[in-house]
Symmetry: none
Subunit: 416 residues, 2 copies
């Protein structure tokens, strides 16, 4: 059972709009056990729509289209579908009433072009759009199902959730897809591959697919399997995830949609611990990540962003002699920063960063990308030097990610 | 002259990743006067890649592929292309050296799979990837051009900007597109539309297209025109931009790829001014934005992120009585925060925020989205209350943007 998605309209083709609709649809279909074989974005031209529909029906059983349903002249999806399916238009009374109500509620006058929104294909099963004027349509044609939806994301999502997903479940005998994504930090793609090589070989026996999804500082590993028995799929993937946990240990920081700041926040709450940061090269990024989590005031007290060396001395208590002797980017300085903020803000953990984010400021001894991270905990202080790359933005985000994950590891060590 | 984009890999088809690469590519191609006819996302299967390439070459002259170039087993693009073009692999020495340097710089061991990244198609024109290991390839085949790029967005962008866009300009006879984007902050889309209504009507005479591109707190206005005479296009758009500047005044903070933090940074440098921030609800976001700009240490000294009220008192000198009498989210508190950080860090400007970002913590009197911003300058203090919405992330970014833009306006006032 395969599906395809076709988006119709120029906004995506000129790069003005990022296609979030397809991501939503693909995710929802996946959850129903329906594999999306292809996503196609095309212009709103009759011949192009015909070609895309013909090619898609050759590959898939379900074709979902979005866009091109507005009242203006450039929106031609509906009349093109009428021609493609050799059908006629009829006025759908429920849609017409809904369109009237919609215009009344906005205090706007109903024009003929708006009234035309109630025209639907004779053979279509129609879903009324509660949030706009263009209805959704379900068209069966020679054992293939075509769904036409408006392109406005929240209208499309509401129609999909309220009508079309239940109709799809009812109509198709879908198989089940189980996905589990394991999130890792601090080990690159190829080194990771070396560690899990043998384990990866064993996946094919269970017909489990693995995908590496790298981004700065992180690699996500996605396991997926398709079948009819939900329980069986889940248990065979869960077994492999447990094996992976044995291999990777605390490199793994979470699963699926987890973020490191959420996972750490949870741990801090559970263990009734508080945290503060003293940031130089990350310039507030760690604080920003921590406070992006709702409820973070339960564990995050504050930060001192010490870009200037005088701020390091006066607010964090870094000794002038330390800065003169070792420099701002040094183990000694970063340790004093971590201890300083922990004490000043009276928290269980103090996290400090100091480094050369770039593009300038590097020396032979301390090139761009050199970063020191220190974590002052309840009983000990850990510090470590990293050598990231040349890109300022990536250096900052890698440092922040690494720092947060190290705090997570420290808490795990102390609580085990 | 038409192009198509093909993305290869499962991440997009299962909805895990939103396809931002295609939007970037489509935008860049559009700027070169190249229309994108179709964007196709397919799975990493040999037959599917063959089919997509065959269909695309029937419709377009330029086909750009992204993804499937990693060192892992699920990445099959390169060997599929080798087969599709009936070509052989050769080792590209420049790529091999770059891969070696890449691993050396990270202090990591070079594995055979990494070495294989240097294998390229014999007939390809190769672009070395400075930010990763997979090279870009330009393949000409019977008058059609195929480009293969890695799927990692920043690697793809860098290869495109540094190599493939110039190569495309050189190879194809494209017409000229001139774009100018005017960046505004603080006025919503529909109010903006009201202000520039008449001006907008006048654009059609000059065959200039206008697009509104709204995002939280900002609206970008993009003017574009197509033609053969670069100088003429530029002068007619520049004239309209000057008219727009008259209408909008300091609502405009920059142009094209400017960011508010860059524009403000430039102003601070030019006027030899320094800045510090005292952040509560923005939790370090303003500091993070300021320090994202290379060279920001020239004007940014540091911040005190005061999430906890005790931190507001002890580090910023906010009076206990102020907090008790007016609360943390009040004009009185935010003014004391701004003055406190300006004095403590000895800067020309002190910027403070305090608000209820949500989702919890709202009251009838101070609902979620209530934010106070204060700016302590050389001679005066300005403060203002805002009522943003219910979304935590949007409230934080709107507050940060508004605060930075207010500092910009204060400097302009004082220096005019």
């Amino acid at each position: 059972m395969q599906a395809e998605i076709i988006t119709i309209g120029d906004e995506i083709l000129i790069g003005q709009v990022i296609d979030t609709n397809s991501a939503f649809l693909a995710k929802k279909l996946n959850e129903e056990g329906i594999l999306v074989n292809q996503i196609t974005s095309i212009s709103d031209k009759r011949d192009h729509i015909f070609e895309a529909l013909n090619q898609a029906r050759d590959r898939a059983d379900l074709i979902i289209m979005t866009g091109g349903l507005g009242p203006t002249r450039d929106d031609i999806t509906k009349r093109t579908l009428c021609e493609y399916f050799d059908d006629d238009f009829v006025t759908d009374k429920r849609v017409l009433n809904a369109v009237k109500r919609y215009f009344e509620s906005k205090g706007k006058q109903l024009l003929d072009v708006n009234r035309d929104q109630a025209l639907v294909l004779k053979k279509a099963r129609v879903a009324v759009n509660k949030l706009g004027t263009a209805p959704g349509q379900w068209i069966q044609d020679n054992d293939k199902v075509f769904i036409s939806l408006p392109g406005v994301p929240y209208e499309m999502k509401s129609l999909m959730n309220d009508y079309f997903l239940p109709w799809i479940e009812e109509y198709f005998d879908t198989s089940f897809v189980y996905n589990k994504t394991v999130l890792t930090q601090g080990v690159g793609e190829s080194r990771l591959m070396g560690i899990i090589n043998k384990w990866e070989d064993s996946l094919s026996l269970d017909e489990i697919k693995l995908a590496y999804l790298p981004s700065p500082g992180k690699v996500r590993l996605r396991l997926s399997a398709v079948g009819d028995d939900e329980h069986f799929l889940k248990s065979k993937i869960d077994k492999k995830v447990r094996e992976l946990e044995q291999l990777l240990g605390d490199i793994i920081y979470g699963y699926d949609e987890d973020t490191i700041e959420q996972v750490l926040g949870q741990l801090l709450v559970e263990n009734k611990l508080s945290i503060s940061t003293a940031e130089s090269c990350t310039g507030g990024t760690i604080a920003q990540m921590l406070t992006s989590v709702p409820g973070s005031s339960r564990y995050f007290k504050g930060s001192i962003i010490a870009y200037d060396n005088l701020v390091k001395q006066e607010l964090l208590g870094v000794k002038e002699s330390t800065l003169t002797q070792y420099g701002a980017v040094s183990e000694q300085t970063v340790v004093e920063m971590a201890l300083g903020v922990k004490q000043k803000l009276n928290t269980d953990f103090g996290v400090a960063t100091s480094g050369i984010a770039g593009p300038d400021g590097g020396t032979e001894e301390k090139p761009v990308g050199t970063v020191w991270i220190a974590i002052a905990g309840k009983e000990n202080i850990v510090s470590r030097k990293f050598l990231f790359g040349n890109d300022r933005g990536r250096n900052i985000s890698k440092t922040a990610l690494e720092a947060l994950n190290r705090v997570r590891k420290e808490i795990l060590k102390q609580t085990i």
